[in-house]
């Protein structure tokens, strides 16, 4: 018998601290798979966000760095400018990237830094206990929107992929999800594509991943996945928003 699925080498064989059914674990695996397949484990450097994925350096089996809340794109810029031969990716949550870190992601994107950003959008602040994120959906109840998010009070969910796709410096943007195997594979392809473009010096790649936070959505993991398909995709449509490699 041959192994048809095993843990990627780039993912340490340890238990995560994530809640059961959390999407972060799946996304970690996909990144590790992509790194293995591209054969870049020995020259990749990851940047962990401040958010539930803060301990990513304990899970990835390659060099990983912490970054202050929201500043991963600036940290990535510093790294890539100093060592263009390294492959740099930032892993960020929606609070991290779209709230406190909005200026940093926009400017790194606009400068067209040759880095890859993996954006895990779970529509909530997981790590701090389920507060509203910039991507929280209208009507969604969170710790800080006990009556549900109101457009009039808190504005609409921010569509980061659409926002970033506009900048000339950005070369690849895709929004994916991990609700079922097909989507998981599509996500892996997008992650791989972004990294490959970086390897080839083609510039800034961005993959947004709609991901469940069963804990702060107050839903069973399976139901949370359904929720993404039934509600979240409506607000954050899946698909490739930009790819300079695509023939038009």
């Amino acid at each position: 018998m041959t192994k048809v699925f095993t843990r990627p080498y780039s993912l340490k064989d340890v238990e995560t601290h994530y809640c059961g059914g959390c999407g972060h674990g799946i996304v970690h695996r996909l990144i590790a798979d992509a790194v293995d397949e591209l054969g870049i484990r020995e020259r990749v450097v990851g940047i962990a966000p401040v958010g539930c994925a803060v301990l990513a350096y304990d899970y990835f089996n390659f060099d990983v760095c912490e970054a202050a809340h929201g500043r991963a794109p600036a940290v990535a810029t510093g790294m890539k400018r100093a060592r263009p031969d390294l492959i740099i990716f930032a892993y960020q949550g929606d609070g991290d990237l779209a709230a406190i870190g909005m200026a940093e992601i926009i400017h790194a994107a606009n400068r067209g830094e040759n880095i890859s950003v993996f954006f895990v959008n779970n529509a909530v602040y997981g790590m701090t206990g389920g507060q509203m994120a910039p991507t929280t959906m209208i009507g969604q109840k969170t710790e800080t929107t006990p009556r549900g998010r109101l457009m009039e009070q808190e504005g609409s969910p921010i569509r980061v992929s659409e926002l970033l796709a506009q900048f000339d410096g950005v070369k690849f943007v895709e929004r994916c999800t991990i609700t079922k195997p097909k989507n998981v594979n599509r996500t892996k392809a997008a992650i791989t594509h972004a990294l490959r473009m970086q390897i080839e010096g083609k510039g800034f790649g961005f993959v947004e991943i709609l991901s469940p936070c069963p804990t702060y959505w107050g839903l069973q993991p399976r139901v949370a996945m359904k929720m993404i398909e039934e509600r979240m995709i409506e607000v954050f449509p899946l698909g490739q928003l930009k790819d300079i490699e695509e023939k038009k």
């Binding site: 994530y18 809640c19 997981g126």
Partner: protein, 197 residues
């Protein structure tokens, strides 16, 4: 009882903080001095969670419990973490459904309660905390069970009021379980490891 200093510990998600707040609230309702301090400290998701509760007839200088007179231990890592801290002759209530190794201390009163199994039986694994609390109150009547029931009503949000009954029932089951198992019988089981559930 001048002062009861209690540590409650388990996994995040086992309702550890709720137990602590409940005890504390009941204490206040009975006009005791109370403090409650969660360990929001070292761990994030998935780790061990614990809290400190002090119920006293006098003012409480510090909310930090370093020498608990009682501990409620809901899972294995918590046993390792707090076993040594309990004062001599102190009480340790253990969720024997999940704690499958015997405690080492012989100088404390050890009360195993198969809280998770009993809760499963009641149809809601999540009330294991209340089963353990019932067991604890059977041994240390720091507050009246009636007060605790009243306190549940106060602190459960309206949206969850349908859960009051199963919580009440879980406390009762825990108390009954402990009262039914004489300490002699328990000690003998202990040496064989927790064989329940």
């Amino acid at each position: 009882m001048a002062e009861e200093r209690i540590i409650i510990a388990g996994f995040g998600g086992q309702g550890i903080m709720f137990m602590g707040k409940l005890l504390c609230y009941a204490g206040m309702m009975e006009d005791r001095h109370v403090t409650y301090m969660p360990s929001y400290g070292a761990e994030v998701r998935g780790g061990t969670a614990y809290c400190n509760v002090i119920i006293s007839s006098e003012e409480i200088p510090s909310p930090v419990v370093s020498d608990p007179t009682a501990a409620i231990i809901m899972n294995m890592p918590s046993l390792a973490k707090f076993e040594a801290a309990v004062v001599k002759k102190g009480l340790m209530v253990v969720n024997s459904s999940l704690v499958t190794r015997a405690a080492k201390r012989k100088d404390i009163e050890l009360i195993p309660v198969p809280a998770t199994s009993i809760a499963d039986r009641l149809g809601n694994t999540r009330v294991a905390n209340m089963v353990a609390l019932g067991g604890f109150l059977a041994k240390r009547a720091v507050v009246d069970i009636a007060t605790v029931t009243a306190a549940i009503q106060e602190i459960l949000p309206a949206s969850r009021s349908h859960l009051i009954e199963v919580n009440r029932q879980a406390i009762a089951e825990g108390k009954i379980y402990v009262e039914a198992h004489s300490s002699a019988a328990i000690w003998s089981k202990l040496t064989r490891g927790f064989g329940f559930a």
